[in-house]
């Protein structure tokens, strides 16, 4: 029974700057993924800001770093819960913040 301890991939080496083509297509693409309808002015403004911000982020290119990573800054581990039933919400609580329809939540139609 083999056990795998390795985690994570690798980042580009230092001195090789991350090339990012910040054009209107990129802004439109990111906005689409993020489900944001941007006005033309907002798109233009973001394009300009993106250039500045990404260039600022590219300071990371000056350093080489490899190896493992964690998501937390303190060594917290193994927060596991026993498989025991707890309490569910009441109907009043569930629909306190939205109108339902015959016990369901409603969304615009999903077309296949």
């Amino acid at each position: 029974m083999a056990v795998n301890h390795e985690v994570g991939g690798s980042s580009p080496p230092a001195g090789v700057p991350m090339k990012v083509d910040v054009g209107p297509e990129l802004i439109k693409h990111v906005a689409r993924i993020a489900r944001l309808d941007l006005s033309a002015e907002e798109e233009q403004a973001f394009q300009k800001e993106f250039k500045e911000i990404i260039s600022f982020f590219s300071l990371l290119d000056t350093v080489d770093v490899s190896g493992d990573f964690h998501v937390h800054s303190v060594p917290v581990e193994n927060a596991l819960r026993e498989d025991k039933e707890g309490t569910c919400l009441s109907s009043k609580e569930i629909f306190l913040n939205a109108k339902g329809k015959e016990g369901y939540f409603v969304s615009p139609l999903i077309k296949k």
């Binding site: 029974m1 083999a2 056990v3 795998n4 301890h5 985690v7 994570g8 991939g9 993924i33 489900r35 990573f69 964690h70 998501v71 937390h72 917290v76 581990e77 193994n78 927060a79 596991l80 819960r81 026993e82 498989d83 025991k84 039933e85 707890g86 309490t87 569910c88 919400l89 109907s91 569930i94 339902g100 329809k101 015959e102 016990g103 369901y104 939540f105 409603v106 969304s107 615009p108 139609l109 999903i110 077309k111 296949k112």
Partner: protein, 453 residues
């Protein structure tokens, strides 16, 4: 044109509670009644990992001979869809629970690329002008099992799924019900783009979907049309696969580490305990049954499809002829279980009932009718037999039949007297076929031997 198929199998686990909250893990309830702030994705709520779900994932990984990751962390897969209570799914990306496993079919081995534990989204009901969302299913623990594209035929896929379901049954990590096992099928003709058919449930639908898709692809190629990489879905009513509207492509999921769930690391002793307490798995049991009880590989395969029927066989095998018992379990019993869409355990019929049933000197057909009745309502098989108007063959009647055969089959009798044991088998067989399988071969053989002394 070589067919290439890969599968992504989504298996609902049968833990008591959901993966990230302690709502009961139930397969049916009124809509939006088994939900809480966590599985509804309310702001401020935090996921809490169900240890048992991870254990079951590890068990399956080990049963498939995989490498188990001793350090597990969860990831967020972000995409927008109304069945997503947070518009991200908590899944495993960089560090799946298990990888590099395999499942062997008769003639080849299917490689399992990865096995990960993740949460199920909510369920949707589509009305005419809007969709309805039920979050009861939201947060149900799933194992996603991804195979390499090692399948080359529909038959291989069916066999794989049968064997997989047997393993799930033996490990007791999955309860079979509508929608509890869903498959994304990737199909292509070698050298041509891959088509993904998403969310197919039920063996029949999976087979039909693959067959339709292969025909569609082959026809397209033959008529010179180009195939495109796309996502389709299977329409069970028409038996066709249809193009789906595009969701997100791989590039858009933007995986990050799940910041609400700390790293999980299993001690090697804990993993060893899981490994050492795995039950005897179907492959091993099939092998053992063939060796110990002399049944053939097909009989062993069908008997061992479910732990319930395998245990039944092993319990009763001393009391009946092993071949006959195996035939009955893999024949009539299997047929009735399939028809009722239940496992033997789900029928709640006891092994004592089966023993009584099989001890009745009745034709095979009659026993099957009694069995069907047993599934509906548990009653003493003898009583059912009486109700249905069947009567067992008595010892006297059996004797008469034996005498009759001895009179008619003079040649066989002579052969036997010369020392050919096979002739006795023939004589016994004649009685059995006259009674349409009602007579117990052991009893009949004993009567013959007595008379021929």
């Amino acid at each position: 044109m070589k067919t290439i198929i890969g599968l992504e199998v989504h298996i609902q686990l049968n833990t008591k509670t959901k993966l990230f909250c302690s709502c009961p893990n139930l397969s049916s309830a009124s809509p939006n009644t088994i939900v809480c702030v966590i599985c509804l994705g309310m702001p401020g709520s935090k996921p809490l990992v169900n240890k048992e779900a991870l254990v079951k994932g590890i068990q399956l990984g080990m049963a498939l001979g995989s490498d188990i990751n001793s350090r597990i962390f969860f990831s967020r897969k972000t995409y927008f869809y109304p069945d997503m209570s947070k518009n991200y799914q908590i899944t495993q990306y960089e560090a799946p629970t298990a990888s590099e496993g395999s499942l062997s079919l008769d003639k080849k081995t299917i490689r399992i690329r990865r096995l990960q534990v993740e949460e199920d989204p909510a369920s949707l009901v589509h009305e005419k002008s809007f969709s309805l969302i039920d979050y009861n299913r939201s947060g149900t623990p799933l194992i996603e099992l991804v195979t390499e594209p090692d399948f080359n035929s529909v038959e291989e896929v069916s066999l794989f799924l049968e064997k997989l379901q047997a393993i799930l049954d033996y490990l007791n990590i999955h309860d079979v019900h509508e929608g509890s096992l869903r498959v994304d099928v990737n199909v292509n003709i070698e050298g041509h783009p891959r088509v993904e058919i998403k969310n197919v449930t039920g063996m029949k639908s999976i087979e039909k979907a693959i067959l339709f898709e292969l025909v569609r692809q082959k026809l397209a190629l033959k008529s010179g049309k180009a195939l495109i990489q796309e996502t389709r879905h299977f329409d069970a009513e028409t038996g066709k696969t249809l193009t789906s509207r595009s969701k997100e492509t791989e590039a858009d999921y933007g995986y990050i580490l799940e910041g609400d769930i700390p790293l999980i690391s299993f001690h090697s002793s804990f993993l060893k305990t899981i490994h050492d307490t795995l039950p005897e798995l179907p492959e091993r049991k099939m092998q053992r049954f063939q060796e110990e009880f002399g049944i053939d590989s097909y009989q062993a395969f069908v008997v061992c499809l479910e732990l319930g029927t395998a245990d039944l066989f092993e319990l009763l095998v001393q009391k009946f002829d092993s071949n006959d018992l195996a035939n009955w379990i893999s024949g009539p019993l299997r047929k009735v279980l399939n028809y009722n869409k239940k496992t033997f355990v789900q029928t709640k019929i006891s092994s004592e009932d089966i023993f009584s049933l099989l001890s009745l000197q009745l034709p095979t057909r009659a026993k099957e009718m009694i069995l069907r009745s047993l599934i509906e309502k548990r009653e003493d098989p003898e009583k059912i037999a009486k109700k249905l108007g069947y009567s067992s063959l008595s010892e006297k009647e059996l004797e008469k039949l034996v005498e009759g055969v001895l009179k008619n089959e003079k040649e066989a009798l002579a052969s036997y007297k010369k020392g050919e044991e096979k002739a006795l088998n023939f004589l016994v067989g004649q009685v059995i076929s006259t009674t349409q399988g009602a007579a117990d071969p052991k009893k009949v053989r004993a009567i013959f031997k007595r008379k021929l002394e």
